[in-house]
Subunit: 129 residues, 2 copies
């Protein structure tokens, strides 16, 4: 499976987790990588909260995010009225959710070690609580 297909599968799985709750809903954004406007991978909401989520999956020790991805996520969140989150799926199973304060700025962008993701990240049940 291509990297892109794996990414889309992970996003679909996340959509499923939200709809599996009693009160949340979620959609995947179309062509989030090629739209000229900021767009999160997944947008979830219930009557009280909206979450704009950039999704990353990895089997490596570190995940890298470009400065522009994070700026777009912030800008989208600010305009839409949604909380910006990074959703990290480790080894195709566990999800951890990080705020933008939790990720580490590097010279060229941002990085998150999986150790950090596991230590600081919220589980899905904690995210939606």
């Amino acid at each position: 499976m291509s990297r892109k297909s794996k990414g889309i599968n992970a996003e679909r799985e996340l959509i499923h987790l939200f709809w599996n709750t009693d009160t949340w809903s979620a959609i995947r954004a179309a062509g989030s990588g090629c739209s000229r406007y900021p767009s999160p991978d997944v947008l979830a909401g219930n009557s009280l909260r909206k979450l704009a989520i950039e999704c990353k999956s990895s089997k490596d020790d570190n995940i890298y995010l470009e400065k522009e991805e994070i700026n777009d996520l912030k800008e989208f969140g600010r305009r839409f009225g949604a909380e910006p989150w990074i959703g990290i799926r480790i080894n195709s199973k566990e999800w951890f959710f990080l705020t933008l304060e939790d990720i580490k700025e590097t010279e060229s962008g941002y990085s998150v070690s999986l150790v950090l993701a596991k230590r600081k990240g919220l589980l899905f049940e904690e995210l939606i609580r």
Copy 2:
């Protein structure tokens, strides 16, 4: 251009209208027609309001909507906390936005005449006011 491409182009144009304002943002939902969960064509928001929009374009005198499309739009709006709207684009130029109270129930679904859309529908500027 295929009917699907025309539909996507209309949705992209609507996304553009929202981002062209000072405060609104919008995304197109991925594969809204084939997802197993309810999903509007376009989801727009600012810090105060969220709009779930089902888009239809037509050159004919009537637009038809299936019962399931409307039920899905209602269900999505209820869970996400978004106002359900029908966005109708007439002759590839003007947009009119109707609430679910404005559309006419038929035996097999719903229909909207373009005369009704023009009479009852809000213009884009009125929708976002």
